[in-house]
């Protein structure tokens, strides 16, 4: 199939525009307006922005503190978890959901009393793409992504995160932002004010 080419006329300048350089002046008005505006940058190492709550930063492990979802109550009796410990039930769902599953190193053991206990939960963040699928797969809302984004490190070894520091990270994150609403959108009221009402069909 032959490609059709459409030729467009270049808009012609009027004589006034041509003589007085109106286009130049318009552009220069914009730049001088910007010159007197406030700068919008952040002096990064000295000033840090707080990302929104849904930001996908370094992972954390929520602890058993009574705020668990109902599914945890069902699984709890099979596990040996004390208060203040990670609420992970070692179900490997996060690893199943992960696009790069080998970055997880999860191990659990069976105690003499027959209960299951999490031994190890390592994540190699060098391979992590921060997609957040692990947090969505978690049945007990244990693995979360916090708002920490400064993940650079001098050694590869430091890029692997472990159970205890993930617990600490989630504790800190929940202390700061647990009660913050988990939405980045504005309210429906304001939205309808701005862009009009939606209308459902009458059945």
């Amino acid at each position: 199939m032959a490609v059709k080419i459409k030729y467009l006329e270049r808009p012609k300048l009027t004589n006034k525009e041509r003589i007085l350089f109106i286009d130049f002046i318009k552009g220069m008005q914009i730049t001088i307006k910007n010159f007197f505006k406030k700068t919008i940058t952040t002096a990064y190492p000295y000033e840090k922005l707080t990302p929104p709550k849904r930001f996908r930063g370094t992972h954390g492990h929520r602890i058993k503190d009574g705020k668990e979802p109902p599914s945890f109550k069902v699984l709890e009796k099979f596990l040996e978890i004390k208060d203040g410990e990670s609420r992970c039930v070692a179900c490997y769902m996060c690893q199943q959901a992960c696009p790069v599953p080998e970055l997880f190193k999860i191990e659990a053991e069976q105690l003499p009393n027959g209960k299951k206990r999490l031994k190890r939960f390592d994540m190699n963040l060098l391979n992590c793409m921060y997609c957040g699928l692990c947090t969505e797969a978690c049945p007990v809302d244990c693995i979360i992504m916090t708002d920490e984004y400064e993940t650079a490190s001098y050694t590869r070894a430091n890029c692997v995160i472990h159970l205890d520091d993930m617990v600490e990270r989630a504790k800190d994150y929940d202390k700061r932002r647990f009660n913050e609403p988990d939405r980045i959108w504005i309210d429906d009221k304001e939205r309808s004010k701005l862009w009009g009402q939606i209308k459902w069909s009458n059945n």
């Binding site: 914009i30 910007n34 010159f35 700068t39």
Partner: protein, 336 residues
Amino acid sequence: MELLGVIVGISLKALIFIIGMFLGAAYLTWIERKFAGHIQQRPGPLHVGYHGLLQPIADALKVLTKEDLVPDGVDKFLFYLASLMAFVPAIMILAVVPFGEPFNIFGLEIKPYITDLNIALILALAFGSISIYGVIFAGWASNSKYPMIGGLRKAAVLIGYEVALGFAMVGPIMQAGSFSLKEIVEAQSSYWFIIPNILGFVVILFAILAETGRTPFDVQEAEAELVSGYNTEYTAMKFGLFPLAEWYIATFVLSAIAVILFFGGWQPFPLLGWLPIPGIVWFFIKVFALFMFFLWVHWTLPRYRVDQITELAWKVMLPLALANIFIVALWVIIVG
């Protein structure tokens, strides 16, 4: 003995001018970066010193201590010569630029200019044309395609704009009846030469933008097309001299000449003559304002194509400059 005194005095003055211009150019880079930053709603240099005031010094140290690479296959002599050829003529124009009237300190008469030649303007034009060799040599000697294209583009642009620039300068010369920049300024004590010479001033604005390679006419660098243009193969201080010469010293000196020709040099602003401000300060205020105007244009406009630039030079700017001469001639006959 008197000759010795003159030589010592002039060398001392020249040294002061050169060092002053160097430091001034260094801080013009700071001003440009701040201005460009704020136009794009970012603060520019902020970290080194108060609001980045020590940044030019840090940059100078960086450029001076960098490894000075000379690529294989370059024409060594021209390669070294080019950076000097771009830089020296630009600063040589300063020799004829008068910054103010002679004044007395401790009974010693100090002239704030190096020399007052009767062909000053022609000398400035000549040095302006020599500085183009720096760019062409750099393009040729680098033995690389991007510098070559950049150098030739600059040559094509300059041929057009040198002619227009020369003709546009004729107006003030006709009115003052002299090539000496000092006498041109003195002739403007009643009114500035911008009044009949408005067309000439427009031509000079464009010619300065083209000559110093600032944005609407920066085809010789054209970083989106030519890497960095004629200075692609340069490193360290040899590289540093090119932008310093073109963007700062040449722009500043040519702004000074434009101010002298059209805005009355060190004469005060109209109706503000009663202010206790010395002439030299008035001069710097005007030059600085014109320099900032060039920065403003630079950081606003996109680049013209090469053919558009040369077309503009020959088809618009040259006729405008000639028309300016005609208008000024009528003005001289009628007004006197």
